[in-house]
């Protein structure tokens, strides 16, 4: 015997939980959370700086080998010194950060779109559709992801940012799909979705104009958090020797120089700034993400 569904109405509780747009709550919540606010500002500054400076910077110039300047320590000419090719680390850091941000964003967006699509379809239609999607997801779940990715990277010809993004996204969409599916399933149980169906609204419209907006905040939070993960995603591969060529600087490439003992101990300026930057970026994005999470989860909201 199931419990009778008696939903207690409490206007005041209601007013607390469901404010007009997620955006406003999010804004308020971030403004309230000093750490998140500082993080967000910092992030924007870094991104703005990196993107604007990298337009001015001559990328060819930066990746040009200069044998007269190998392993220069930081100086007024080379703010962060040079690497084993005499290349300016600072310039590489700027372009590397830009590239890593681009990778992070691209992987996040791409895997987000695929995951979202699959999740929405599975969650909304349920039944057999859900079954099929979940079998695919199950299959990906048992893949030894790291290992397969490495194997993949070894196979792909013409390996570059684009290929990397595609390979990564191919494995990362799973978690998004799972999350969205479960949330979509929950939402589909809700009566407004049923209502739309009884009103004769076509499926695609229900999905896009009813379901999607209500998953907004979850999606945003999730994308933010996975952005943090994706920014550093290529570091590991770089370490294993499956990273990008040095002519494509990335934070991972810079960091992976740490494996070289003469750089790790004696020339920390090559790898340390990138490592710190990755750390800072991730912390900032995480802080923002956590604030967003709190904003969307009334229970944890501060204040």
């Amino acid at each position: 015997m199931e419990a009778q569904k008696k939903i207690q109405i409490d206007p005041s509780k209601d007013a607390l939980i469901k404010t007009p747009s997620g955006a406003k709550v999010i804004l308020v919540e971030i403004l309230k959370d000093k750490v998140a606010l500082i993080s967000a500002i910092f992030l924007l500054l870094i991104a703005a700086f990196v993107f604007s400076v990298s337009i001015i910077l001559d990328q060819d110039q930066i990746v040009t080998v200069d044998l007269l300047a190998i392993f220069e320590p930081p100086s007024s000419e080379f703010w962060l010194g040079t690497d084993h090719g005499g290349r300016d680390v600072f310039g590489q850091l700027i372009i590397g950060t830009r590239n890593s941000l681009l990778i992070g964003i691209a992987v996040t967006v791409l895997s987000g779109i695929v995951g979202l699509g699959m999740g929405l379809i599975a969650g909304y239609f349920g039944g057999h559709t859900d079954n099929v999607v979940m079998r695919i997801v199950d299959f990906f779940l048992v893949l030894p992801t790291t290992m397969i990715i490495i194997a993949f990277v070894a196979v792909v010809p013409n390996y570059s940012l684009l290929q990397f993004t595609l390979i990564m996204s191919a494995f990362i969409w799973i978690s998004m799909a799972r999350l969205i599916r479960s949330k979509a399933l929950q939402q589909s149980e809700l009566e407004y979705i049923q209502a739309a169906r009884t009103l004769g609204t076509p499926h695609y419209k229900i999905i896009f104009s009813h379901l999607l907006p209500n998953l907004n905040s979850i999606i945003i939070v999730n994308l933010t958090l996975s952005l943090a993960a994706n920014i550093g995603i290529e570091t590991g591969l770089s370490f294993l020797g499956f990273g990008f060529p040095e002519s494509t600087p990335s934070l991972g490439t810079l960091m992976s120089h740490a494996t070289n003992p003469q750089i790790f101990e004696l020339r920390p300026w090559v790898w340390l700034p990138a490592s710190i930057l990755v750390l800072v970026l991730m912390l900032c994005i995480n802080n923002v993400g956590q604030a967003l999470k709190r904003a969307t989860d009334a229970k944890q909201r501060r204040g």
Binding site: D138, F139, L141, V142, L143, P144, T145, T146, M147, I148, I150, A151, F152, A154, V155, P157, A228, A229, G232, T235, G236, F239, L240, G241, G252, M255, S256, A258, T259, F264, E265, S275, V278, L279, L281, M282, L283, N286, N287, Q290, K299, Q300, R302
Partner: protein, 320 residues
């Protein structure tokens, strides 16, 4: 219970089948073959062709696959081109090392994660929670190899507390007590480095789980019974929040396998992660395919284990 396990295994069969095809195609698509690296002007083209023919490398992939899967089912994964020994034997040694590393890692990671998660969840939004959150973010952000390298240089070389490479001291006879002690000693530092990373997820999960359960109505019931704060935590919250962690145990296997690739490299630890990378570099297909398939199996077993544990600890989905 048995029915459940059998059912899970049956589901795993097609998964592993797909995985094997994927893996095999991947391997066969890799540029070069085991003989590409063998550049020796005194070997003639004919000899190379002969060797390629002997190893069946000239057949189309599906024929090679058919042969391979046929043997694989009987447990024969062929020979490693490079190591010239049976893949099963080759992997066997390494697998034991990685397994040991994994177990130790899990142990460390739970030893670290559970107290941290509990403190962080119970006293959420206090300074302790914030400090722990800081640690988890850093752990999340710093790639495992940087962690490993730093640990290696500090504890291995500067302080000389731990051995810096290998899985066992030279000269010890397999099976002796010293041998095992030495093994564990060699695993400690890599395991600790890996654990520092894997801990992060568990801490965060435990924290949010505890915060979640804190707000459940049955906690109110417990309080209404007159249970003290401590009792509420010990009897109701921890237990309830630890169970899903226990159930994650199986899933950790995949994570640790992935992490081992990096850590084994850093510590020159002869495990399967390290073997995978060198086999990919050497185009040692039979090893690559066997390893990927093996990790797939481990992942399947892991998820199955998780399901079983979950179903054992959670009465709501208990298997009849």
């Amino acid at each position: 219970m048995w029915k459940f396990i059998v059912r899970r295994m049956l589901i795993a069969v097609p998964q592993l089948f797909f995985l094997s095809i994927l893996v095999f195609i991947l391997a066969s698509q890799m540029p070069g073959d085991p003989f590409t690296g063998m550049i020796d002007p005194s070997i003639t083209a004919e000899r190379l062709a002969e060797l390629r023919e002997i190893h069946g490398l000239n057949d189309p992939w599906y024929q090679q696959y058919g042969r391979w899967i046929g043997n694989a089912i009987t447990g024969d994964f062929g020979q490693s081109f490079r190591y010239k020994m049976d893949v099963t034997e080759l992997i066997g040694d390494r697998l034991l090392n990685t397994a040991g590393l994994g177990v130790l890692t899990l142990l460390f990671s739970y030893l670290i994660a559970i107290p941290l998660g509990i403190v962080s969840g119970r006293f959420n939004d206090t300074w302790a929670d914030r400090a722990i959150a800081g640690y988890t973010y850093v752990g999340f952000a710093v790639p495992s190899f940087i962690f490993g390298l730093i640990a290696l240089f500090i504890f291995g070389f500067r302080l000389n507390w731990f051995p810096v490479s290998g899985s066992v001291s030279p000269g010890l006879v397999t099976g002796t007590f010293e041998y095992y002690i030495s093994k564990i000693y060699h695993m400690t530092l890599p395991a600790l480095s890996l654990a520092l990373i894997t801990t992060v997820g568990t801490v965060q999960y435990l924290r949010s789980e505890i915060i979640d359960i804190k707000h459940k109505e049955f906690i109110l019931t417990a309080k209404a019974k007159g249970a003290s704060e401590n009792r509420v935590y010990n009897k109701h919250i921890f237990r309830n929040s630890l169970l899903p962690i226990a159930a994650f145990f199986g899933y950790e296997i995949t994570g640790i396998l992935g992490g081992s690739v990096f850590i084994e490299r850093v510590f020159s630890f002869p495990g399967i992660g390290d073997l995978l990378i060198s086999s990919i570099n050497n185009r040692d297909y039979s090893v690559v395919t066997a390893l990927l398939l093996l990790s797939g199996c481990l992942a399947v077993i892991g998820t199955m284990l998780s399901d079983i544990i979950l179903s054992m600890v959670d009465p709501r989905i208990r298997i009849k």
